[in-house]
């Protein structure tokens, strides 16, 4: 009976199949606004039928389906298109125009004033993350690589980024959104210090030379925004060994790939290097650094991530130099520094296109500085009249920064962002003079900021970023209101122009506080216009800028101490900058050239009048060349940095006024660095360990470099400030061991 029934059914069904078997032709053409689109998948939804468009955008297919169907068209970079069609026997013709999807890949990006090194294929990403570590003159330091970009000065006598006529203090650094205090090791007279953090813990670097987002503040010139890495790809251990240091670390990725932790330690001692390479200073305690860090990263949900990074460093050094003030005597300087840094960051999607990012960072920094003079027998001695040269300064800094940002994505790439930032600083300082008199001081400050910003994509090719920032400083008991706006317009494929305007405020530097006088925020106004073209592995950008400074701090002399008087300082900076990078024209060679012209004058601190400051060169240029030689598995990098002679001044206090005792221009600066990275593992199959050998030589041609001049206290003698050694050689080896996880994959799958 049942067989009979099935048979009947079969008959019925086959019958119906025959009925529908009449084929319908569906054809048409797929275009975007201008040209036909090839390779587009045209799909009759829920059936197998469909076609791929040919080079003229045409498609045609036959289907046996009948009734109402959805014709769906998908192509990368375009919005998906769907249309209902009725299949009733007659041929169907559908012409389709796809709309370009506003994606980060194709959309215009507000890029005025911004350099980015990241994996993201954004228009502003002119550097790759690896460039940070493979630029010859960088010496593995983050800011070293950035100094080969237009906008930054080649200042060798002190650390930091001097951007577009600004001081190093006008550049602030942020890790995962929160402010980093003491980004560099504590200052040592006339010796530029390195950044504390390894470039390998960051996946993205954004270097803004002006006009930056309202999410950041308290920096008159520049923001360096670093983004730390998320979960590692695999567990790994690493070892490093060089003439300067040794260290090791371990990163563990959990089996479910949802969390990881890691820790590392390194010890740096310049004893060997200083034995081989003669230093200008005579070290009684060769610089030695203990550095340790630890991290964890937890994927709290599909879209959530919690990250912690903690850093600890203890380092000290002591040296003497022949004193310029008194013949036969030596100046001695020593510093011991301990620094903790903790950063906790959380981000999560809240649904309905809302996102939250919260971060806190805490820094504890302790510097014990001792300065004085020694006689020929290396005993402490103070010649008469030079008592001021013997002092101890012990500082304790506690810094806390918290930031909360909400983001709501609107249509396409448009978004609004707003939030709050809180910054707490507590600086304690004890100054001990030659007669053991102690002068303690303590300054606490709070800054509350609220900010809002919106990205507005009018079309794929026209975007604006408008923001404002409002700050209250408890120390000044004043508020400020800083508007920011920028606009970008796409001219063609990879070609765009953008302009930016912004007002930036910054508190007076702590070293001039407390002041008996009422002070206010220092202010800078930026105007930037940029043209950029990025096509086929070639990038070109040109930028002109004008920056106006108002309310800069002026200082005066009270009892030999330089203290802040008022905010009557002012200045401006204008210039033009070019950047060209080419990975294409010379096979296997990647090079970039940058040039900056800077015209700046300012009257601030103890300057007798508005002058070009000693940290600003008129012409700055860099050429960076990288070549990978396959045969030798070597990466050859070279960099040439040039800066025209900077002015120098000797400013003296005559009892009532500051005046110029001497002034001039230092010689032009030239530096050629060379680095070889040898990568023996490259291309090796089933490589479980990566080894990189590094050889770096800075100032390879042994060119004499002068950073400025220092004067004896009475101004009679003058001496060039030069690098601690002319040439420097670094040899090191980094090994990273991947920990095999394929066994885990198998074991998990068998459970």
């Amino acid at each position: 009976m049942s067989t009979f029934k099935t048979g009947l059914l079969l008959l019925l069904l086959t019958g119906s199949t025959i009925l529908v078997n009449a084929q319908v032709t569906v054809s048409g053409k797929v275009m975007d606004r201008k040209k036909p689109l090839a390779g587009v998948n045209v799909v009759l939804k829920d059936s197998y039928d469909g076609a791929t468009t040919d080079s003229s955008g045409k498609f045609s297919f036959k289907t046996t389906e009948k009734g109402e169907f959805i014709l769906a068209v998908t192509s990368v970079g375009y919005k998906p298109f769907e249309q209902k069609i009725k299949l009733e026997g007659a041929p169907v013709t559908v012409d389709i125009i796809l709309k370009e999807e506003v994606t980060e890949l194709s959309a215009v990006i507000v890029s005025a004033g911004t350099f980015e090194a990241s994996d993201r294929k954004k228009a502003v990403a002119v550097l790759d993350p690896i460039d940070i570590v493979t630029t010859a003159s960088a010496n593995g330091d983050i800011t070293g690589a950035l100094k080969t970009l237009p906008g930054a000065q080649q200042v060798g006598e002190s650390e930091g980024l001097f951007v577009r006529g600004g001081t190093a203090a006008e550049t602030k650094t942020f890790i995962d959104g929160t402010l980093v205090n003491n980004f560099f090791y504590s200052s040592v007279p006339n010796i530029a210090q390195f950044g504390r953090f390894s470039p390998f813990i960051f996946k993205g670097t954004v270097f803004s030379t002006g006009g930056y987002s309202a999410l950041y503040g308290q920096a008159l010139s520049s923001a360096l925004i670093l983004e730390s890495i998320d979960l590692p790809d695999r567990s790994s251990a690493n070892l490093s060994l060089s003439v300067l240091n040794w260290g090791g670390g371990y990163q563990h990725l959990a089996k479910n790939k949802k969390s990881s932790w890691g820790a590392s330690y390194s010890y740096t001692d310049l004893w060997l290097a200083f034995k081989v390479i003669k230093q200008k200073q005579d070290y009684s305690k060769v610089p030695a650094y203990h550095n340790a860090d630890a991290n964890f990263r937890i994927k709290t949900s599909n879209t959530g991530m919690l990250k912690y990074y903690g850093y600890f460093s203890s380092n000290r050094l002591a040296f003497t130099t022949n004193s310029i003030d008194s013949l036969g005597y030596k100046d001695r300087f020593s510093i011991g520094n301990t620094n903790h840094y903790h950063n906790l960051n959380w981000r999560e999607s809240l649904g309905k296109r809302w996102k939250v990012t919260a971060g806190i960072s805490y820094t504890n920094n302790k510097d014990d500085i001792s300065s004085g003079m020694q006689d020929a027998n290396e005993n402490d001695a103070i010649p008469g009249g030079l008592e001021f040269k013997k002092f101890d300064v012990d500082t304790r800094g506690n810094y806390f920064n918290a930031k909360l940002v909400f983001e709501k994505r609107l249509k396409g790439l448009s978004a609004i962002r707003f939030g709050h930032e809180y910054n707490y600083t507590h600086d304690k300082l004890v100054y001990t003079s030659y007669n053991n008199q102690q002068y303690p001081s303590s300054i606490k400050g709070n800054i509350h900021s609220v900010f809002a910003e919106s990205d507005i994509y009018i079309t794929n090719g026209l975007a604006a970023k408008i923001g404002t920032r409002f700050e209250y400083s408890s120390l000044l008991d004043k508020t400020n209101f800083a508007p920011r706006a920028s606009l970008a317009y796409k001219l063609g494929k990879g070609e765009q122009v953008s302009v930016a305007y912004g007002v930036f405020y910054q508190n007076p530097e702590r070293r001039y506080l407390p002041s008996p006088n009422e002070l206010t925020f220092m202010k800078a106004t930026h105007y930037i216009a940029q043209y950029q073209k990025v096509v086929n592995q070639q990038s070109f950008r040109a930028e002109i800028f004008y920056k106006k400074y108002d309310d800069l701090v002026k200082t005066g002399n009270s009892n030999g101490q330089e203290t802040a008087l008022n905010n009557n300082g002012y200045g401006d900076a204008k210039g033009i900058e070019f950047f060209w990078r080419d990975k294409k024209n010379i096979k296997g060679v990647d090079y970039w050239i940058s040039y900056s012209y800077l015209d700046t004058k300012r009257d601030f601190l103890n300057f007798p009048s508005a002058i070009t400051p000693n940290f600003a060169a008129k012409h700055t240029s860099s050429l960076v060349i990288k070549k990978f030689v396959q045969k030798w598995k070597m990466n050859l990098n070279t960099a040439y940095n040039f800066a025209s002679g900077r002015p120098y001044y000797h400013i003296g206090f005559d009892g009532s006024n500051y005046k110029f005792n001497d002034r001039g221009t230092i010689p032009d600066y030239h530096n050629v660095s060379f680095a070889i990275n040898y990568l023996p593992f490259i291309g090796k199959q089933n490589a479980r360990s990566f080894t990189v050998w590094v050889l770096q030589v800075s100032n390879i041609f042994n060119i004499k470099q002068t950073y400025g001049y220092q004067y004896s206290y009475n101004g009679y003698r003058k001496e060039a400030i030069v690098p601690t050694s002319r040439m420097f050689v670094y040899i090191g080896c980094f090994i990273s061991f991947g920990v095999d996880r394929s066994d885990d994959v198998i074991n998990n799958s068998l459970n």
């Binding site: 799909v43 939804k45 039928d49 791929t52 592995q537 598995k633 291309g683 199959q685 996880r741 198998i746």
Partner: protein, 215 residues
């Protein structure tokens, strides 16, 4: 009669699903042989689109997603062989292939064949920008291949890939033509005993082995 009534919808159900599966098999049978013979960029993309249409209509079959990914990544290699280098040329194909193979993997876990495609994708991505990607995609490729081998040591395509890597890599980077040929011989041997689960299951690669051995 009650029994019969009960049976009726049941048999109808089996019948329908059988019919659908026959349609599926037929459509696949038409396309699958091309996987081993087509090496033209446009044709590979078209093939990938066709597999994707079947995959999206079926929703529960891993094979069409797998083939869509395989032909998509092969389109990336074909672009590279036509002389266009650089990540911007091959990344779109690699990313699309990754999207497709992820869908295949959710339908069939711990599948040696799927790991072969993952290996092909990782290598394509690495070659696009070796300096920046060797540390991520390099190990990802070798891990995928090792996993494919562990999941099915009899899979001839494992040895084909290992051999091709050895042959195509310059000697100073660990390439070795001799070893590569030996692996190809191994692949050839495995192919002799290899029986695909059905005539639409992965069975490609014999031609490539032949090609490498004849060079």
């Amino acid at each position: 009669m009650k029994k019969l009534l009960l049976l009726m919808p049941l048999s109808l159900l089996t019948f329908v699903s059988f019919a659908q599966s026959e349609k599926y098999v037929k459509a696949m049978e038409k396309l699958v042989p091309s996987v081993d013979t087509v090496w033209n960029v446009d044709q590979l993309k078209e093939l990938s689109n066709s597999f994707e249409r079947i995959a999206d209509a079926e929703k529960t079959q891993w094979l069409p997603y797998y083939y869509a990914a395989l032909t998509r990544v092969n389109a990336g290699y074909a672009i590279m062989m036509s002389g266009a280098t650089g990540a911007d040329k091959t990344d779109p194909e690699g990313n699309k292939a990754q999207e497709l193979i992820t869908k295949a993997e959710t339908l069939s876990k711990d599948n040696s064949e799927i790991f072969i495609v993952k290996k092909l994708i990782a290598t394509l991505m690495m070659v696009g920008d070796p300096m920046n990607r060797y540390m991520t995609y390099g190990p990802a490729a070798s891990e995928a291949l090792e996993t494919a081998k562990k999941l099915n040591p009899e899979n001839p395509r494992v040895y084909l890939q290992e051999g091709a890597d050895k042959i195509n890599t310059p000697e100073q980077y660990g390439g070795n033509k001799e070893e590569g040929k030996k692996l190809m011989e191994e692949a050839k041997k495995k192919f002799e005993t290899f029986k695909p689960e059905s005539n639409i299951h992965p069975n490609w690669g014999r031609g490539q082995v032949q090609y490498y051995l004849s060079r």
